[in-house]
Amino acid sequence: MLLLLVLGLYFAGEAKIRVVTSLSDLAEFTKVVGGEKVDVDFLVRGSQNPHYIEIKPSYMLKLKSARLFVTIGMQLELWAPQIIDGSRNPNLIVVDCSRNVRKLEVPTARVDASMGDVHPFGNPHYWLDPENVKFILQEILDNLVKVAPEDAEYFKSNMNSYVRTLNTKIAEWTSLTKPLKGTKLVTYHTSFSYFAERFGLSVVGYVEPKPGIPPTPSHSTELIQLMRNSGVKIVGLEQYFEDNTPQQIAAAANAKLIRLSTSVGGIDGTEDYIRLIDHNIRAIVSAAKGSS
């Protein structure tokens, strides 16, 4: 009897769909849709810059036993093909969550390295717009259903439940940011384009002279001048960048430096996606109030 119970528990564990995601945010979304039917792990911690990831054999090991690998796509995870190849998993389904997202900052001319690390398919930080999360959830749902069609209703019900929560929060966030419409800010990298568009903010400059290129003194001087001329009072700094230069820029332009997070778990208080967006919005609202 005990043996049967142990075997039953063992096979019940085995029945879970093993999913690995590139980002911690995608892990949460997969867990939201898959519920108890999925076993989810992720590769990039919230505190890490997802553009630059060293390829570790342990990542390959994680993918080896996975059925789905959920990615942001749009070449954010340029490191992913080597990990996928190294995993030697012929049954792995790679999910690109960007498929149905409306893309911003898609280059219209030929992209080359003189432009910095420009993504040829557009800005990939779309998950920071909560409305885009619905496309991500749908993509995850479609692929989970491919693997376990018998659980389609369960997955769909989980997704709808989360979308309802998300809609309530979107309404709350929209109301919180309504007074900030048109507020100008500067960020380190082009991480908040989708977020800013959703909440009516305006990112007028970046600490990086070009995407992925470290700040230079001449660019910082120009940026300070731009901030003074445009009345920018907020410098938003992503969790994984050093704060030396942004701090100097903020001080010189009489602006406030705030830490924002691009991913779940990036900084304290961003343990899930709702809290992540909550944190970013409250930080901006508070900085805007402080400066007014």
Partner: protein, 381 residues
């Protein structure tokens, strides 16, 4: 009517042309150009008369062209062409191999072509990706400047070792010629026809294997340990065999985006039979030489663009254990924009003892500049 026909043709041409152009863009392999320049001076030029640093020599260490891409859904190909210097040096095929990644039983991977064998930790890493400028002495002496780089077939398999330990076994069958040419023309000393000719005429297979194990030690730390073995004919004239065994490790601690510490090293043990000359009765006599060498280095990244490190080397010779060399190097790396450009400054001190009476030491300063034009991939651990 003609106008309509012309417009239809133009439309067809535009559609077809666009499709073709997109298809070519996506099907083209990735091409990168990676030259390494070196400005170097040492104080060994006028020894034993006086110790003075000579005029710095500016050289093109190597010019590498990498052409890489998928062959089909199951395999990829990697070709590296290299040329040393600005002069008449030939363009060499540094590596050219296909790797079969999918569709094989037991998830085996196969590599066929000319390649750097999976022996030790540094052999497969191209010099432009090293933290330092010069090759560790033990590798220079035992596997040569070009490393173990030969025609061959390699198979690798992931060993079942749970969810935490990544364990890979790679076995190579190599043509063996580059291994044979490691020997310093031992045949010529005994009136042989010359090593190069002998090597060109015959094939002496070499076999190597490496067991690699990787596991995280903490949230921010990872450790890789490897055990390698290599055997082949080092003296084609006398058909004498050598055996190498090697143990390597790499530990990396990366607590933040711009802070990391790498501790890495490998130790190589050599056993080989050598011809020591005719004995008193005029018969060939042999001797077994056992020797070895090791290096260990630390490399610290302390901000986004700077690294600093130090290396210690100790090595005997493959042919005698009385010929020793040891040295140390300190190096600074500056990477202004990711890995697109790198400056490395290194000071190295090397002391060699060929016999009790013959000791020599040389100091050198080298500045290396590397740039990478083209798609640069994420680095393997």
């Amino acid at each position: 009517m003609n106008d309509l026909r012309y417009k239809s043709f133009a439309l067809m041409f535009a559609v077809f042309g666009t499709t073709l152009s997109i298809a070519q863009t996506t099907l083209n392999p990735e091409i990168s150009v990676i030259p390494r320049f070196r400005l170097e001076s040492d104080d060994g030029g006028e020894l034993p008369v006086r110790r003075i640093f000579g005029r710095p020599q500016f050289s093109l260490e190597e010019f590498e062209i990498a052409i890489q891409g998928s062959l089909n859904p199951f395999a990829r190909a990697d070709v590296f062409l290299a040329k040393k210097g600005f002069g008449d040096e030939p363009i060499e095929i540094e590596e050219a191999y296909a790797t079969f990644l999918r569709g094989l039983p037991l998830d085996l991977n196969f590599r066929i072509g000319k390649y750097l064998a999976d022996f030790g930790k540094l052999n497969m890493v191209h010099p432009h990706a090293w933290s330092f400028v010069s090759q560790p002495l033990s590798l220079e002496r035992f596997i040569g400047e070009e490393g173990i780089n030969d025609l061959g077939i390699s198979g690798s398999i992931l060993l079942p070792a749970g969810d935490v330990l990544y364990s890979k076994l790679t076995v190579d069958v190599l043509r063996g010629n580059s291994i044979s040419s490691i020997a310093p023309s031992s045949d010529e000393r005994y009136g042989g026809p010359g090593l190069v000719d002998t090597v060109a005429a015959s094939v002496y297979y070499a076999n190597s294997a490496r067991l690699m194990m990787f596991f995280p030690t903490s949230e921010n730390g990872d450790l890789e340990i490897g055990f390698s073995g290599l055997t082949g004919i080092h003296d084609p004239y006398q058909k004498l065999r050598f055996y190498y065994s090697n143990v390597d490790f790499k530990y990396k601690w990366k607590p933040g985006a711009y802070t990391s510490l790498v501790l890495q090293g490998e130790a190589l043990f050599n056993s080989r039979k050598i011809l020591v000359g005719p004995d008193a009765r005029g018969r060939r006599s042999f001797q077994t030489v056992t020797s070895g060498g090791f290096y260990v280095f630390a490399d610290l990244q302390f901000n986004k663009v700077f690294t600093i490190g130090a290396r210690y080397d100790w090595s005997q010779s493959p042919y005698t254990n009385s010929d020793k060399a040891e040295g140390g190097a300190v190096f600074i790396g500056y990477y202004p924009v990711e890995e697109t450009a790198a400056f490395r400054l290194q000071f190295q001190h090397v002391r060699s003892t060929q016999s009790v009476a013959e000791r020599r030491s040389i100091n050198s300063i080298a500045l290396q500049f590397v740039f990478a034009l083209g798609p640069h991939k994420a680095h393997l651990f």
